[in-house]
Amino acid sequence: MESPHEHQQTVLLSRIIGNVEKLNEAVMVMNKGLQEVNIQNMNVELVAQMFKNYQSNVLFHLEASPILGVVRPNFSDNRVCAVCIICSLSTRDRVSRNYIYRQLILLSTVDPKSSGAHPAMTITAVQSLLPGRIASNSSEKQTEKPPPQLHGITDFPFKGYHPPQPEGYRQSQAHPDTSAIVIDNGAHLVKAGWSFDKAPRFAIPPVMSRYRDRKLMRQCQFIGYDAYVDATTRGQLRNGFDPGSSVVGNWDVMEGVLDYLFIKLGVDGANGGVGRPILMTEPIANLGYSRKMMNEILFECYSAPSVAYGVDSLFSYRYNGGKDGLIVDSSHTSTHVIPVMDSKPVFSNSSRLNWGGLQGSEYLMKLMKLKYPTFPTRLTDAHMEEMVHNHCYVSQNYNSELNGFLEWSGLEDRDRVIQYPFTEHVVQEKTEEELAKIAERKKESGRRLQEQAAKMRLEKLVRKEQELEYWKALQIRLESENKKETRRILEAEELKDEAALERMIRELEKSIKRSRNKDLGIEETEEQPEEMTFPMLDIPDDQLDEAGLKEKRHQRLMKSNVDARLRAKEEKEREKARVAEEERLDREERENNFERWISKRRDNRQRILQSIKDRDRFTADLGNRKSLASQMRMKTLANLASDGPKKRRRGGDDDDFGANDDDWGVYRTVAVGEASDDEEEEDLNATLDAAEKELLEFDPEFSEHNTFAAQSDWTKSLVHAFLRGPWPFDPESQREAHQLHLNVERIRVPEVVFQPSIAGVDQAGLIEIVADIINQRYTNPQDQSRLLKDVFLTGGNTLFTGFDERFRNEVRGFLPVDATLNVRKASDPVFDAWKGAAQWASGDNFGRSSVTREEYLEKGSEYIKEHELGNATW
């Protein structure tokens, strides 16, 4: 018997089988997907573990690192992968997502500024004195200063090639015994020439640069200014003098310098030696070893026939015609005071202060490095020397001038700006035309977008209108249809009943109207929602059928909605009234009891200021690892990082972090740096502004320049004046970053010779030394007046503007009123020593005072002959 439905059944079965197969396939795909998800989750777990370890390491290092600087771990890579993980995580894994997210934030809060550019765990302890200030809008506008006059800086003192001058040597051949080579062996400049010259032929710094050129495979040797010729030679620079003294320390350099000078002076060495007598200067009380070495070199290496030594300042004094007087010789490495009686120096009453031009420029270097710790260019000794020479001067009244030095008025003249070479960041400067073009393009695209939107709106409107048309037509058609047909039609349109249709039509109408209004720019009028009635709510449930119950439920929902809206509205109005009331009370108080009102306001402002201060202190304290603030922070960090053993004991692995929004607030307390409290700062500043505005309006004693902004304006800042002069500072500008400002240093550096304690030299100042020599060592008034009648200044360090005047005034200060005091300066404080030496070498005394080669060989290398301008043996 054949079932009549067999065909149907087979069809159904085959469909079922097909469906099951498809289902199986789907399940397999799902399995595969699940497997993938599992693998991914395992990865996540691994990464999370890695993060945990990494972070505990970071914490450990944070605790262990003794430097207060900012720790900048390099998180960029990990962060990227963590972000990827979070994106790829399925939502069901909330716990692990939260965990990773937390780790990520913890890591990033260790340093919010960390970026890929920083190497891992860089500890930066460099800090500039002043964070860049931004000029705030102070109403008390101080007169804008004219732009600073910039002073350049010479890169290095290379002076070009100087050819030898052999004619001097030729001239000396006429009298080879009396024409001497005169060398003023100064620590700053070695001056050399012939005794018959009027001025030294060569003056070079005693430096040498000797190295082996790898490319040319040969030795190179550059002396004096030539040693500054290029970067390679400058890198190999050696100084002949022991640093900070006027004693030769490096004899290789000294030999090089002498070689250079003899070559340049045209010495041909016909008889295997220099062949001319030599006169050299040396410091007062030169050390025996130094003289011994010099003798050895001159006699044995250069085979000089005779050598004499003299003291530079005495030559200078002689050249300037002095007989009795007090020599004050402030030179490159030291300052000497030497009394001279009957043209003879009294060395036993002389004194040396270990301060000179070299120490001055070294001191300036220290000051500049401290003042601009992050200066982008290398500061060299030559730069400092140039600055000291060009910009420093001796103050006539140091203490009083000092305290007014950074005052606003006239600061632009006192502040010297040294501009170092720099490369400005090339900002593609856009022309007016291009800017206009860009604006036009922007506008164009905006308009296009607007047009597009309008078109779309129009299309939508048309569609809606068509729909409305359709529904309306349907409604009309329904009216003529019977009930069953109506039901069928409605069902076909997926509508529940006629009411629904009506509602839809109403909504459509409303939305069409709204969009029409919008297009035409008619302001939407808040149409009063028609008073809703909820008649069903009053009818008890048992009197209603199912549809009625449904309707009732719907109405109840609507009613609570409406009620809530009403409540909110009332609340708003109450709030408004409260504010108005408060304002009224406030006004009343202001009018009736102004004193109390204003004091309240002032207190309020003080409170805000205090909290700003507290906040600043807190941030500053965070920089100090030992401070309470940072310890608390560490504690929070440690708590967050720990696996939470307490929590685990309480309730398993359930990590509900993030369930409560307040949980995230913990990162505010953890974060350091500007990023963290931006909002708060804005907040405080805004409240402060409001409070100050009110005070400005009503408080007669509170004016514009009392505001916090005006008070903290950069023009008020002493530090800013010190670092940047009377001009605003733009931290972005490369030009300004490459500027050094010399202000207080201009008088601070030369002052040291008068007050050595400024630079930590434990010696009496120049005036004290002079006073001691005049008053203590010479008790005879006649001797005193002999010395005072001719006080003679020489040496390069006396070249400062105002040096002689200051010196004269201060010396006058400790003298009796009737004492005569004459202070004069050498006609050329730098070269007069050489000139005096040359003059003396042309005289008879030179021959008598020279040690000949025979004497040297007989009496040893430390033997010298005493004369009126030289050192004594002892």
Binding site: L129, L287, V744, S757, A759
Partner: protein, 182 residues
């Protein structure tokens, strides 16, 4: 950096060659001269050497009255122990007497002048004991007890408190007031 310019390089090399004196003829030099390898000494080494020498000279001058005789040539000061050496003292040590005589013969104006003893003494004049701000150089009446830096006013104090570790020590060093650990 600009690309190396061969013409420029050439010119520079020529300049270097003219300036270089390593291979210039130096016939004035004695070619047999071989300096000692360790002839370079700094002042400290020289001083310690010479102070040993000085000490031996000073020993002869100590207790002998030679030091106090100072400027006995001008006669304005009363010689502390008289022009003639105290014989009873001097006979105690004959060598001292001989050395003293010799010393007086070579420098009749008192103790020898050496590199170290012409250095001026520390200042005791209160007029020069001003305190200056370590940061700005202005007058500094206050001292921060933590860093020992002197400062001018509260703004500078704020700066001092934000200095990184080690920086205050550098400021102190500029004034010579830093602590040296040995």
């Amino acid at each position: 950096m600009p690309p190396p310019n061969p013409a420029n390089d050439e010119a520079h090399q020529q300049l270097l060659n003219t300036l270089d004196i390593a291979h210039a003829p130096k016939s004035f030099r004695n070619h047999n001269w071989k300096p000692s390898q360790r002839r370079n000494k700094n002042v400290k080494q020289m001083l310690s050497e010479s102070s040993r020498k000085e000490a031996s000279v000073m020993a002869t001058q100590a207790n002998s009255g030679a030091t106090t005789q100072g400027t006995f040539g001008d006669g304005t000061r009363t010689p502390a122990e008289g022009a003639a050496p105290n014989l009873s003292q001097a006979t105690q040590n004959l060598s001292t007497l001989v050395l003293e005589k010799n010393a007086r013969a070579t420098n009749p104006t008192g103790p020898a002048v050496t590199y170290t003893n012409i250095e001026s003494a520390p200042s005791f004049n209160p007029a020069y004991q001003h305190h200056y701000c370590d940061i700005t150089g202005l007058s500094g009446q206050y001292t921060d007890p933590k860093t020992r830096l002197r400062y001018h006013d509260k703004e500078i104090f704020k700066v001092i408190r934000t200095l990184a570790q080690g920086v205050p020590e550098n400021y102190l060093e500029a004034r010579g007031a830093h602590t040296i650990l040995k």
